[in-house]
């Protein structure tokens, strides 16, 4: 897996953020999930979204890649301003993600799951593929080669041909990351990549995320509850509570922010 070519291009553009959310508000039939949230994500950074349950973190990720459409506000990704994202458009522009409750294709093998992550890199038509003519065979090889690199990177070779639904939880999480990485994304959204893992698995997953960020220059936005992991991994932390942003800065800024402490530990009344 080679570092994606556009990274050097956008660095030369100056310090414009890769992703900018402006005044995003999202409600479901009057229930406000997210209220007037704005923040920037710098190219190449690891940004953590933290906050108590129900703070609107997952909703915000869903807005970024278009699973939900915000009622107000705008999303700027790589210089393109949009009122709404659309999942397909987000994928085409290079936004990949994982889900909180693993959203793998359970009936398929690990390899097939990873290969689906590369579906946008296809040029040959289904007819060429069915008849195995034209561009299809060469492309099949190239896709497979790339998928194998991702599989190797995340150390899941032994399970290549296993059906995903039968793998243990921790491995499924890793396969989901592999599927997202297979698309060679510029922005990777991770929704609780370490939820339900033991300390050792968390450590392993953290180092995979750090490696992805360092080796491919992939910008990462992740949601995580384990503050220890967040402080160790993230360059930039955004704190949400009841759908509002209450903190935004480096891990150290956030650690000393009284509002954040109040949200997490409660205050004396």
């Amino acid at each position: 897996m080679s570092a994606s070519p556009h990274i050097s291009n956008s660095n030369s553009k100056g310090s414009a953020p890769l992703l900018r959310l402006e005044h995003i508000s999202l409600s479901f039939k009057g229930v406000k999930a997210v209220t007037d949230i704005s923040f920037d994500v710098a190219e190449g950074a690891i940004t953590a979204l933290i906050g108590p349950n129900g703070a609107g973190k997952s909703s915000l990720l869903n807005v970024i890649n278009g699973v939900y459409q915000a009622q107000h506000g705008s999303i700027t990704f790589d210089g393109e301003v949009r009122r709404h994202m659309h999942p397909h458009h987000a994928a085409v522009r290079g936004i990949a993600r994982t889900f909180q409750n693993i959203a793998l294709f359970k009936g398929m093998s690990v390899l097939d799951n990873v290969l689906t992550g590369r579906n946008l890199k296809r040029r040959s038509s289904w007819l060429e593929q069915a008849l195995r003519i034209g561009r299809a065979p060469g492309e099949d090889d190239a896709q497979r080669r790339h998928a194998e690199k991702v599989i190797e990177f995340l150390h899941i070779q032994p399970w290549r041909n296993s059906v995903v639904g039968k793998l243990p939880y921790g491995l499924q999480k890793r396969v989901e990351l592999a599927r997202a990485l297979a698309a060679e994304p510029r922005l990777l959204l991770l929704d609780e990549p370490m939820a339900g893992m033991n300390a050792e698995e968390k450590q392993e997953m953290s180092s995979f995320i750090a490696d992805v960020n360092r080796e491919f220059g992939t910008t990462v936005v992740l949601i995580e509850h384990d503050i220890g992991v967040v402080m160790q991994l993230a360059d930039h932390v955004i704190v949400l509570d009841y759908g509002k942003k209450i903190g935004d800065g480096t891990p150290d800024d956030v650690r000393n922010n009284p509002d954040v402490i109040a949200a997490y530990l409660g205050t004396r009344h």
């Binding site: 890649n65 085409v92 990949a96 793998l104 294709f105 398929m108 097939d112 946008l120 289904w126």
Partner: protein
Amino acid sequence: MIYTEAGQFSIRYSHDRRIFRLRQDRIGITALLLFAFAAVPLLGNDYWFSAILIPLLVLSLAGLGLNLLTGYAGQLSLGSAAFMAVGAFATYNFQLRVPGLPLLASMALGGVMAAGVALLFGLPSLRIKGFYLLVSTLAAQFFVEWFFTKFGWFSNNSASGVISAPPLLILGHDFSNPVGRYLLTLAVVVVVTALARNLVKSELGRNWMAVRDMDTAAAVIGIPLLRTKLLAFAISGFILGVAGALWAFTYLGTVEPHGFDLARSFQILFIIIIGGMGSILGNFLGAAFIVLFPVLLSQLSGSLLSGVIDAGQLENLQKIIFGVLIIAFLIKEPDGLARLWQIARERARVWPLRY
């Protein structure tokens, strides 16, 4: 021991993509095809060809058509017989109205027509799922049956609405005798099945399964849901259309709307449920079960119970036993016959050890 992959290494990615990766599978399928093409025509009799083998093959093909849509792409449908009817009537009309068009070309065009109709009735799948979709495909079933009964032009204004199929001529050879019809059916089924097997292992096949297993995630990684679902309907429709043409031309010998009623759609659905969803082999096993089991049952009950119970009752009894057996089997093995085959294969792999 007898079914092990030991010593067979894939040293190229293209080896992994072969239709049958294991040498044992390749030898097995070659032997089976040789047997089917060379030995069966010599061994079989007309009853076997006309009453068992031809319907078995055609229903397998129809099952394959539905399985791509339901087992792979996860879209339920009860319109299978309707798409078969479109294929049959279109093939008949191409043969009738375009002089000189080869039979196989007419069948392919019939398939294309069925694909078009299936595509149209697949449009609701973009908005609705599951049982609601099932009901909307039911509309195709009733509409098509009514349509071909109502408009006589499609059956060449024949008074009874039943038309006999023309002789089956391919490159000057007459395939109208039972052996010829069997060979023609077999050849078409083998070719279409091989293509389908390639297709489900390709990008489109993976996209279908992705949409089936988790459509939100599929959309998020960039799989176009609309295109993927509609292609499933169209390709499934094509295969069902070809199966319909074969049903009318090589099995029934007549083309009539009532050969493609709702009971046929259910029969095809049962084939894939019994055979195994999301399995190519399952279609053949399921069709064999549906075709052979009643024959076996009637032979058995005929020899054991004739004279004890009268013939009409016996027939009903057979249906009851058949239904009970299906239920019992599905409780025991909900994933169908294909799963049994898979388990047998795993056992053979480690035999004589247990694991």
